[in-house]
């Protein structure tokens, strides 16, 4: 018996319908799937393969090529430490290490309680505020290492 199909919200289904026949739609649809699940679960990729009549291998080829697509579930709060050049020169590495120390995980890992994950990213476009760190969509700039514990504590709530 086939496994139960993964649920797609109405919004996601509508989005797929809207894009289904447009050429070059895959990346846009994957973005929308990731918005829904915070990553791209295997079952979702399988369902897409079916609905778009596209080989699963092609879908995985695209997912694994692009850094932004994730195949594992990230933490509830995603910490992105900027390691673009401007931030690197002004101490991005120190911020990254401080986050790793506080949470006891390395880049690309998730804390046991599923609350946090850390990623080193390349330039979030606020280089004037270097060094920069983001938690979810919140940007924190001109940081020193000393400010990191307080920022992380805000999201523990």
């Amino acid at each position: 018996m086939p496994a139960a199909r993964i649920e797609f919200s109405k919004g996601l289904q509508d989005f797929i319908q809207e894009w289904k026949d447009k050429p070059g739609n895959l990346i846009m649809i994957l973005h929308r799937v990731q918005q829904e699940f915070s990553y791209i679960p295997r079952e979702a990729a399988e369902r897409l393969a079916e609905e778009l009549s596209m080989p699963l291998a092609k879908i995985y080829g695209v997912i694994t090529f692009y850094h932004l697509f994730k195949t594992t579930k990230p933490g509830k709060h995603r910490i992105a430490v900027c390691m673009g050049t401007a931030c690197y020169l002004k101490g991005g590495q120190t911020l990254l290490e401080e986050c790793e120390d506080i949470l006891g995980i390395k880049g690309h890992e998730v804390t046991d309680d599923g609350l946090f994950s850390i990623d080193a990213v390349r330039c979030v476009g606020c280089c004037g505020l270097a060094p920069v760190l983001m938690v979810g969509n919140d940007v924190y700039g001109k940081l020193t290492k000393e400010q990191v514990p307080e920022i992380i504590a805000k999201y523990r709530g």
Binding site: I27, Y66, L129, G141
Partner: protein, 595 residues
Amino acid sequence: MAYKHFILVCGGTGCESSKADDIYKELISQAEAQGVKDDVQVVKTGCFGFCEKGPIVKVLPAESFYVEVKPSDAKEIIAEQIVKGREVTRLLYKDDKQKDRIKVEDIQFYQKQFRIVLRNCGIINPENIDEYIARDGYAALEKVLSSMKPNDVIAELKKSGLRGRGGAGFPTWRKWEFSRGPQADQKYVVCNADEGDPGAYMDRSTVEGDPHSVIEAMAICGYTIGASKGFVYIRAEYPLAIERLKIAIAQAKDYGLLGDNILGTGFSFDLEIRLGAGAFVCGEETALLKSIEGSRGMPIPRPPFPAIKGLWGKPTVINNVETWANIPVIITKGGDWFAKIGTETSKGTKVFALTGKVNNSGLVEVPMGTTLREIIYDIGGGIRGGKKFKGAQTGGPSGGIITEEFLDLPIDYESLTGLGSMMGSGGLIVMDEDDCVVDVSKFYMEFCVDESCGKCAPCRIGTNQMHSILERITKGTGTMEDLDKLEKIGHAMKRAALCGLGQTAPNPTLSTIRRFRDEYLEHIVDKKCRAGKCKDLVVFSIDKDKCIGCGLCARKCPVNCITGDKTQKYTINAEACIKCGECFKVCKFGAVLKN
């Protein structure tokens, strides 16, 4: 109803992340609460450029330029300036020399700038098409559609001398001419807003601050080459820019400036947004087109060039955001006007994202031919903390370092290439004596290792090889032979790699070896890093003559490897030291020594 005052709040990403949105809302609610909402209009604009001092608020017509504003300042701005007509002196920008109030045009940061691309950034509300139109927006499109033939447009571009701002500097008119020639059932116009150079944000700010300038230019191109469809390929990491672009496209459609039968002329042109997904190589044009097609973004060999055989095999003009933003001005003011600005070979202006160790980080637009010294010292306010300038990197991971002796060279495409660097898209990163050139080269090479798409061997293997050698050198285990190897591999990659990524990846390393060979030798032979960045080569110690025994370093040390007392002074146990540098940073007496 006419407003007496206008308050412009910077809504660029930088300022937005420092609570500009809260300031904006607070100003509106304060205006209401204090009963002056009919006297003042609060507008959220694009980036002012002066990101170092953000969030920025400007009040017109008084021309008050407030910096580092907080939401809690809104009440006072309304109460003092709008109600009582007095400036809030404490928030005004002051520079070191002139302690008094300075007018915006007297601010050093803005003095040498000349704004074409950023003409509307920080002036109009980018979410309101009427404000763009009020500043001559869409006049160029109207002029083109009503009175110019495709040939005339190309002739005007040719006169202007405009060259691509995405890095390579290819003459824009020629690209358009290539695509206009062939007959095809479909042609495409593409905007490259992928902005992959880490440490650059010119294109982001342009799209956020003035999205219509790009839309208008793309429609002009559509008319010129005979395309009815365009795509803006933009980094998914830029949510605010994407949002503003969506709003702008919808408004342009509403006004009949996009879509079917534009301005009743029978010309139709439609625009769609496509998102990138975090791959630097997708900034390269052939890879970008593959990505729009929904595939892995792997470059393909050129020729054929996209202008002849591009998206889905059709003739495609692809230009960079900044290139596009210049075009409406060239059409309205004329190619001759534009060609008067700049140098012999490079016309117009260039926008730079000035970052790193300068006092005033920010977005600057200067005429081509301006010197680096003017940009770094006059506009950027010099090096932070009185440190010594070491070099400036242009062209990001594809570029090279420019040293002190070339600070007075007028910059244009040719002069930068001549120095072993390149114009690049506009990232300008300033380094000081605390930055290690080997470490920075390793940083860029690591970036290229991550971003190499893996299709061609010279890039896939070459970047890895160069990276591991650089890593060895920073760890003190490099040899003289390694230095030769770096150069050999680098030159081989430049010749053999498939696309620009691999061909240019060796540049930062080769250019630093050329300009700072002595520092490489120091790492290899003396096992020393003079900047103190390469941790394996740094030893911290305490100068007993200078140490006053305060013990601050010992308290700060995260691994408790500093011991001593007031009488004996302090010592560092080098074995246990993790070289975090905290002791060096906190000592007020210069008693902690590096190396």
